[in-house]
Subunit: 278 residues, 2 copies
C-alpha cells in the first residue's frame, strides 16, 4: 500500500569529461537516493557528459551500459528511475535525446524523446544548435505510478505550454523535467518555469539539473527544483553535486484543484489544445 | 512617425469606497501620464471601486461617465488609453468585466470581456465568486498600434496559456493585463505570470494593478509590472498609488525572436491551439 506521500530523489550529478566516471556516478547516486528512502529517483538531461556536441556524440557508445546499470538499480532497490536523458538510436544515425523510465521491476514503462530542440543564442550565450546532433521526437506519453499519473518532458520542452495543457488533460499530476539549463537561461527563467508549470498543471514538477561547474565549456546552472501545485519551491538543490530526497504529499494536488480549480475554469467552449495523431 | 520606443504609462490607482472620487482620480491620472510623455496609458481592473461585489454593482451606474471622461482624455492628449476594466452591460442584467481601448482620436478600437471568472478560494483567502455578479466573455480581439499588434486580457485570464498562444499567433507583441491580484495570489504568482507570459509571447507584457491598501476588505497586491520579451522586469511600481511612465523598445521583440525563436520552435506538426469560432 502506498499513502499519499511520495519520496522523490534528485541526483544532481556533476558531469565531467570522463564518460565512464559519469556513468558509474549516476548509477551510484540512484543507489544513494534509494538508501535515503526515495521511491522515484531522477537524473538530469544528458547525464553521461557535459552538454557539448562532441561529448554527446561520444557518449552514445555508453548508452546501453548506462541503461542496463540503471535498470539493475531500479530492480535491486525496488524504485522507479527517471533516467534523465541520453543520446539513443536503435539503428544508427542521429540519436534522439531520450529519457527512459524504469519501474520497480526494472521494466521500461515510458520513454520521452525531446520534442523541441534547442537551436538558440540566448542573450549572453552560449550558442547551441542541438538539431545538428539530435533528432526531434514525435510522441507524448504518460505512465501510471502508485502515486498518480506521471510524465517526462526534457529541458526546452518545458517552455511550450501546449504540452503542459495536453499532459494536464491526460491526468498528469507529477511531471519530471530532466534539464540542462545554462547559467544564462537558468538564471533568467528556470525557477519561474518549474514553479509556474506546477501551478498550471495543478500538480508537482520535478526539475533535475546537472551540478554547476565553471570548468565546463557549457556551464550548467544547477538548482534542481521541486515545486508543488501552488508553485512553492519544496526543494532547491543549490549549485553543487548532491543527492536530495524530498517528501511530497500528492493530496496537495486534489486540495488545490478543489479550492482553486484552474483546470476546470478553462474555457474549452472557446479554445482547445489538440495533439495531432500522426 | 513613430520610432521603436513606446512610452507606456501605468496608473496604479488606489481605489477607495468613494466611486465618484476613484473615477475623477483615474481620469486625472491618465492626464498625468500623458504629461509625463506616455503614448499608451493603462488603468487596473475594476478601477472604479475596490474588488468587492457590492461596490462593483454600485459602480455600474458610473461606467458611462467614466468611459466618456477617458475618451475625452485620450482625445485631448492624443494618447491611447487601455481603460482597465469596469462592469459593463448594454441592456441591463449581469455586466461583463470589460476593458475598453481608446485610440488617440478617442475611438474604441478594441474591447475585452474577461473570459475566465475568478471563482476561487486561494490558500490564505479571500474567497471570491466573480460569476455571482459578472457574465463571462466570448471573444478575443487584438488592435493595431503604431508600435505593433496589441491586445488586452483581464486578470485571471493571464493564467490560461492557450489564450497566450492564440494571441502570439495573431502577432501580438504588446499585451496589457489590467488586474486586481490580492496579496495572496499577488505574492504567490503575479510577477512570475507577467514575466513568463512575456517570454512565451516573445513580446512585452504590461500588468496594471490597483495600489495596495490594507484598509480594504479585498487587499490588492499593487506591484504593476512591465516585462520585456526576455522576462526582465523593466518596471515594478511598488505598493503605493503612483503614475509611472516606462520606455520600451519594441525592437527587442524582433531581436529576441531572431536569436531565441521560441515561437518558431513550436511543434505545430504535433499540436495546435485553436479558437473555436462560435
Amino acid at each position: 500500500m502506498h499513502g499519499s506521500i511520495l519520496k522523490v530523489g534528485i541526483c544532481q550529478l556533476r558531469t565531467t569529461y570522463d564518460i565512464e566516471k559519469n556513468m558509474s556516478r549516476a548509477i551510484e547516486m540512484t543507489s544513494d537516493a534509494a538508501r535515503l528512502g526515495a521511491d522515484i529517483v531522477a537524473l538530469p538531461e544528458m547525464f553521461l557528459c557535459p552538454y557539448e556536441p562532441d561529448h554527446i556524440k561520444k557518449s552514445m557508445a555508453f548508452a546501453s551500459r548506462a541503461l542496463e546499470g540503471l535498470r539493475k538499480s531500479a530492480l535491486e532497490h525496488g524504485i522507479y528511475i527517471v533516467a534523465g536523458s541520453l543520446p539513443y538510436t536503435r539503428h544508427g544515425g542521429k540519436p534522439f535525446n531520450r529519457s527512459f523510465v524504469f519501474d520497480t521491476g526494472g521494466r521500461v514503462v515510458c520513454f520521452h524523446d525531446k520534442l523541441h530542440l534547442f537551436d538558440c543564442e540566448p542573450p549572453g550565450g552560449p550558442v547551441v544548435r542541438e538539431s545538428d546532433i539530435i533528432k526531434e521526437g514525435h510522441h507524448l506519453d504518460t505512465f501510471m505510478t502508485p502515486w498518480g499519473m506521471a510524465a517526462v518532458i526534457v529541458c526546452y520542452d518545458i517552455r511550450f505550454t501546449p504540452l503542459l495543457q495536453l499532459l494536464a488533460d491526460r491526468g498528469v499530476v507529477l511531471l519530471f523535467v530532466p534539464a540542462a539549463f545554462s547559467i544564462t537561461t537558468g538564471r533568467a527563467h528556470w525557477e519561474m518555469l518549474v514553479r509556474l508549470r506546477a501551478v498550471e498543471i495543478q500538480g508537482f514538477v520535478v526539475g533535475i539539473q546537472p551540478a554547476y561547474d565553471p570548468g565546463l565549456k557549457y556551464v550548467p546552472w544547477g538548482h534542481s527544483i521541486v515545486a508543488n501545485p501552488w508553485g512553492d519551491v519544496l526543494m532547491d538543490a543549490g549549485k553543487e553535486e548532491v543527492v536530495e530526497v524530498v517528501d511530497i504529499d500528492m493530496e496537495d494536488a486534489g486540495r488545490i484543484r478543489g479550492s482553486f480549480p484552474l483546470l476546470d475554469h478553462r474555457r474549452l467552449d472557446l479554445y482547445s489544445t489538440e495533439w495531432r495523431d500522426n
